[in-house]
Symmetry: C2
Subunit: 331 residues, 2 copies
Amino acid sequence: MINIREVAKMAGVSPATVSRVINGTARVSAEKRARVLQAITATDFVPNEVARSLYRKSAKLIGLIIPSIKNPYFTQVASIIEHMATEHGYRVFLCDVGDDIEKEEIALQTLVAMNADGVIIASTNEAIQDYAAMCQIPVVAIDSLFATKRIDAYVYCDYYAGGRMAAEHLIECGCKNIVCIKGPQRIFSAKARYEGYRDVCREHGLREQTVTCDYDFKAGLAMTEQLLETFPGVDGIIACNDVVAISTYKILHRKHISVPDQIQLIGFDDIEWASLISPELTTITQPIQRMATKAMELIIDNEKTTEKGVEIVFPVTLTVRETTKKKGSCK
Amino acid sequence: MINIREVAKMAGVSPATVSRVINGTARVSAEKRARVLQAITATDFVPNEVARSLYRKSAKLIGLIIPSIKNPYFTQVASIIEHMATEHGYRVFLCDVGDDIEKEEIALQTLVAMNADGVIIASTNEAIQDYAAMCQIPVVAIDSLFATKRIDAYVYCDYYAGGRMAAEHLIECGCKNIVCIKGPQRIFSAKARYEGYRDVCREHGLREQTVTCDYDFKAGLAMTEQLLETFPGVDGIIACNDVVAISTYKILHRKHISVPDQIQLIGFDDIEWASLISPELTTITQPIQRMATKAMELIIDNEKTTEKGVEIVFPVTLTVRETTKKKGSCK
DNA sequence: TCATAGTTTGAAACGGGTTTCAAGTTGATA
DNA sequence: TATCAACTTGAAACCCGTTTCAAACTATGA
């Protein structure tokens, strides 16, 4: 691979001058500039990014740590962050770490060792904070809030309100027998959503009926089967997220239970697939675009935000589609 | 950030000795080793990955260039590659470039400048070859084959056979009036799939009926609407991939056309969503796992493969699910 | 006890782009 | 024409982990 010294030799100047031409960091005489430019074109020289970031101590790199690249929620987040980063001259390094706290920790260390300028973490592991607090670069959590706030910022939405909205909507749609498929309660969003549902039940004097299920398709299938056995009279289901809602629908469809006529169904997140599948899913919409954008802004503008534990909360909205309907109203 | 020289000072040894302890590249006396290890623990020292890869000229990094991170086909590929890479001590840098040849070229340049050890490209742009041929690192194309073979290797499957299988299956299921939603014909896989369909039509004396559509959800919706107007008697649809098949189903469902009773539907790829949605999609299965694994092997074992333009072709299989059924047979 | 082979160790060079600093130029003003 | 400011330029230091090379040291055999 050709290096800057060879380009300099070819142009008859010093490496410093070539660097100045490339980066526009100082004035260079027109004549030398032309010679340098010509040598660069002739050799297809591209500066070695590694040497650059070694000196600059910035790789123009933002790390994004997610539990699974196969989860459409996270790929939507990743896509937005990727596009924003490109606009601002950054690159994104995506780390798919599963639920493995150790992998998460290694990813964070690696990102620091790669001179990343900041990290966005979509994690459910509170322990990650220990490592995040140690590293010198800005770290923003998306979609979670931990009891002890040691990360620079937390971007999430009002999950509790979402849980309430979901329950209230099903009640408005005439459901008398609502079951909530709770997510794992160690996860902040799952807990808040459940609490929203629980409080609405109490206020309306409805019995609280729940099963617990991982945020994942397979678990959703199994839990729906179980739910139908445990609560045979169910007429409304709140799934802990859209992926689980889709698997719930799958079981209902297989059992020839009509949605929304016999059982109404609502999810959370409003991932793109929610409106792509048939029937389209009624869900609680998270402003994914705004959340991801905010998380990126916090990283990029980090010079300004000096305080720790900043919380940015976004509102959620109800998006009614085809898996719920007001009783008596025609489609 | 602490560096190796400070650790060395603390342990009372030279940086060279610290490096030797960390990497196990030479013998170090037990006493000094212990002092070094202790200093590393005390300071939480993690070697700067950038300085390392500058010297080594390898970042233990594999680039993966894909058109969209939101397309589940590519995230499945990415997931497999990510896991294989981790096993082999590599990291994966994912570049989402859209259909933008310029972005693709920049991604490739950046990867080279980042000292990547190899690149896997899932591209439909033949022009990328010019850049791929120039860079000094192994480049493997997945899912495509270009007329002029200038990339190190091409990993793809027998799309033509897939096209034939799809058409033959619909014929066996009693379809008389099959429409093929062709993908963009500049794309190798789309062209081969169409040709398979075309040849089967000719052999069976069926009329060849097609519309053309991008490999993308929105395009699929529009094209299905158009298809139904142009070919009102259609009883079987071959979609150019699963994503388009899912959008086709969406339109049929919306128009209360029963699948598979009135129209049978088959896709290509067998992405995970094909079996998650309801009804489950009949499709032509690509061995995604095997393809991605092979592509990675070609990169990792590159010392051995010296020749250019290696072609690795995998077979496809028919996976019958719920959107097709043999006429007369009961479910 | 001396010579030789083998081991341990650190100084210095290396990778490649960037930046500082001082020297060399040019041009304008007195 | 002499002087000083402003600009252009390259040598060298820098970022930091790795590796080479030669020096210093240990141990073995004669």
